[in-house]
Symmetry: C2
Subunit: 495 residues, 2 copies
């Protein structure tokens, strides 16, 4: 039975729409098979809200009025239609091929492999990946069979300063019997050829990794991977992270005006601890690469969440190219969209939702929060503004663009997403948007930006978590003011 | 026995000076009867530190080196000597006379009284105060005898919009026998003539006020002051506030990297609760005056701490004139320096001190923190910058200026402070300083700025509490950047 067949009353008159920071509006509510429509009665300057039904988080019954508390509500309803983009435009801003081409230093010892051209080796990888030059595709195929979901080790970052690299993968399937895979060992061996050792940063505790081994997963044992040193850092993901966000959102909604209660609820949510742990582990990764000049392989279990999180943050810390607006968007495209972060499963609903699907988890939001902490600690170092992070946080949950649709490239390809939708990243680089999302105070620095992970230095991301409050609006106004000033300055300087 | 007679070794060679964010320097340390001097060995660009001995918070013995951890250390040592100020300059930027003269609306029903010209009526009041026109000096004298420390009710703010006023005083000395003072009642009666009622905001809990009554203090009973409605709001001051700051500073120094511990220590210090309570009570005061149009008398026990705190904050909330750089400094001069906040007793040492004198209490720092919260919530509304608040916080504890010396006007007069020192507020208004301490983003608004007192909206004042960290420096750089931009903009616009 289709959803539309459940609809008994399609139109309701005299509905009051309440949105944060806006006066209530009276109008007509209309339910269709896929959308909820509201249009008010004003002849001029009328308000229309068009909401995709699958984006509705929760509905609460109330005698007096219909209240929708979803924070995404107003944004999803007022989403812009991309007017000056054509579906013929190129989709995406960077591909593995381009990344390889641009990084000339790679060409000596690394190659592009199309072993996954039909997505059969690893369904969640793109068609092309970067691997050691002297490792052929057959080795990759065998390594893929030895890794969960076929996610064999691939290069994600090359550090120009010293040639050390960041690789990522999923866990090896050693299982209880401590199975070995010669090809996987050979592949990793090739990564650190000419160097004395490499590091594996495992985003699980040693105990968790052991448990996973009993369930068929595992880790790289010292005996089989003798030149790799394993470091375990327990990072939360999945359900634990989702629960953390839900607790934080509940704490934010507490209207008791009680400071003790707020601080204890904030503590209890553990959200800031997750932020801290992510920055701490990313810092460790960056230290191995930038300070010690060692190559690092990062993985946890599936290699689609925390691995991406810390590899992205480490690149921001080390590489000034990733800190420009364009560089950051390309980084996100490589490390999240192409690398197969399952956006559809992770960002189906927001923390306000009553339904809590198993796969739901705000890993991408955690990334944006961590990037904001960097931005907060180094206000001049990043080329993009807080507004960009806020926009990305919104788009990940409800978007008019195709970028965050599906769980991986294969699914996007099957649904022809690139032909039927617009690319968000391209839209964000149009002149007007580029100006809007740039950091007016940006000053390029070649230096690494080492974040402080002292709990005293980490803050609640007010711009996001309090964005529907009066304070959020004030902050926005101040940002606008700085932006206007810089634009005026630019124009005056040119004239 | 003088301090100088205790000095056994006046000069020590080969001393290493360590200061936050600066490389260590090797040199000579010299102790005199009043100063500690350090000068390094470099021929050029040499470093000299000159530290008043009474400003030293704590000395710790260490086998290897002399470490001075006082946060004030570097600032006090590197204090500027006011070069382009002359001792012949006018001292202070606003007097009660000027305040009266400027507020023309006052003249109908209020007058200047010199009843305190020889400081005999109230030692902690200035020579001139503003009182109701139809109340003569004899009534004031009698009221002063009925109030602790002689602090009879005086006007501190006139709200142009509706004619409501803020008065402040100390507690009435009703005592256990519920003594009355006809003159005091008459004085307060005159304040609300023509209106149906006034409010008394008592910064103590009802229970505390009762306790104070048993000890000879008291409050305005309903039977004696029938047209005044008393509201009690318990605000911490004195020792409790000092302990709170010490706990916060200890928490900030915790290097354990443990988020739970930090948040629980932050909570435990209660500092943010004090910030919240101050803003809440100031909001209540502003609501009575601005929204309800009622006059309010504010007092606790002595009327030299929390009363000044909330009357200052309420004026900032309501009155756009107080939000300019000059207006804010004049407000501080009126409400803190002239109103007799005992700076010397309250700000002798910082939170790092080992000695904890009874009278020590960071009420003024709490004010600056609350003003910062306003600034943080309304980044465009205040005409001064965070740098000004940081400067004031430093100057209150260790200053080259005379503004924060002594406990009241009488003491300053006895020591001829105005003849022998420079005025900080005037120094801050010289062209270069004025530019530096102005808020580049300031946009004048006539509206009241109602702060959010949700615990979620209040933040740790990182600029102050983390100012000796790397992060503090980054924030400063960003502020510098904005400032430079605005200056360039100004110059380009003029050319």
């Amino acid at each position: 039975m289709e959803f539309s067949e459940h609809i008994k009353t399609a139109n309701v008159e005299d509905v009051v729409l309440r949105q944060p920071l806006q006066p209530p509006a009276r109008g007509t509510l209309c339910v269709t098979g896929h959308h909820l429509l509201f249009s008010d009665r004003e002849e001029c300057a009328s308000r229309q809200v068009l909401l995709l039904i699958r984006n509705i988080d929760a509905i609460e019954k109330s005698v007096e009025n219909l209240s929708v508390y979803s924070a995404q509500f107003s944004k999803a309803g007022c989403g812009e239609r991309p007017p000056d983009l054509s579906l013929q435009d190129q989709w995406g801003i960077s591909s593995p091929e381009q990344h390889y081409k641009q990084t000339k230093e790679l060409h000596n010892s690394w190659r592009l492999s199309s072993v996954n051209r039909d997505y059969s080796v690893c369904p969640s990888y793109p068609q092309t990946v970067i691997v050691p030059k002297n490792i052929d595709d057959d080795v990759l195929k065998k390594s893929a069979k030895f890794r969960q979901g076929g996610r064999f080790p691939v290069l994600c970052y090359y550090h120009r300063k010293n040639g050390a690299v960041i690789m990522r993968s999923s866990q090896p399937l050693t299982g209880a019997n401590r199975k070995r895979c010669w090809e996987d060992e050979q592949l990793l061996h090739a990564v650190i050829e000419g160097s004395d050792k490499g590091y594996i940063i495992d985003t699980r505790s040693s105990q968790q990794a052991q448990q996973n081994r009993m369930a068929g997963g595992g880790f790289e044992s010292k005996s089989s991977y003798s030149r790799w040193k394993r470091l375990h850092r327990q990072m939360e993901r999945g359900k634990a992270l989702q629960e953390s966000l839900i607790k934080l959102v509940e704490a934010l909604g507490d209207a008791s005006h009680n400071m003790d209660r707020w601080l204890s609820k904030l503590d209890n949510s553990k959200w800031l601890s997750h932020v801290q742990m992510a920055l701490l582990t990313a810092g460790l990764l960056a230290e191995c690469v930038e300070r010690d000049g060692h190559s690092v392989l990062v993985h946890g279990s599936e290699g689609t969440d925390c691995s991406l999180l810390i590899s992205t943050l480490a690149q921001l810390i080390m590489d000034p190219c990733c800190r420009s607006l364009e560089g950051f968007l390309a980084l996100l495209e490589r490390e999240w969209v192409q690398a197969g972060h399952p956006f559809q499963q992770r960002c189906g609903h927001s923390a306000y939702s009553h339904t809590r699907p198993q796969q739901e988890s705000p890993v991408f939001l955690l990334l944006l929060d961590c990037v904001w902490q960097l931005w907060n600690q180094f206000p001049l170092a990043l080329g993009f503004s807080e507004a960009l992070l806020l926009r990305l946080a919104t788009e990940a949950y409800a978007s008019d663009y195709g970028t965050f649709l599906c769980n991986n490239h294969q699914e996007r390809w099957a649904l022809a997403v690139t032909e039927n939708t617009h690319c968000l990243f391209q839209a964000l680089l149009r002149p007007r948007e580029r100006e809007y999302y740039s950091n007016s105070l940006h000053e390029h620095t070649e230096l690494a930006i080492w974040p402080s992970v002292h709990p005293q230095s980490l803050q609640l991301w007010k711009g996001f978590f309090l964005r529907w409050t009066q304070q959020g609006r004030q902050l926005q106004e101040a940002q606008e003011e700085i932006r206007t000033m810089v634009m005026t300055l630019g124009k005056l300087a040119l004239s």
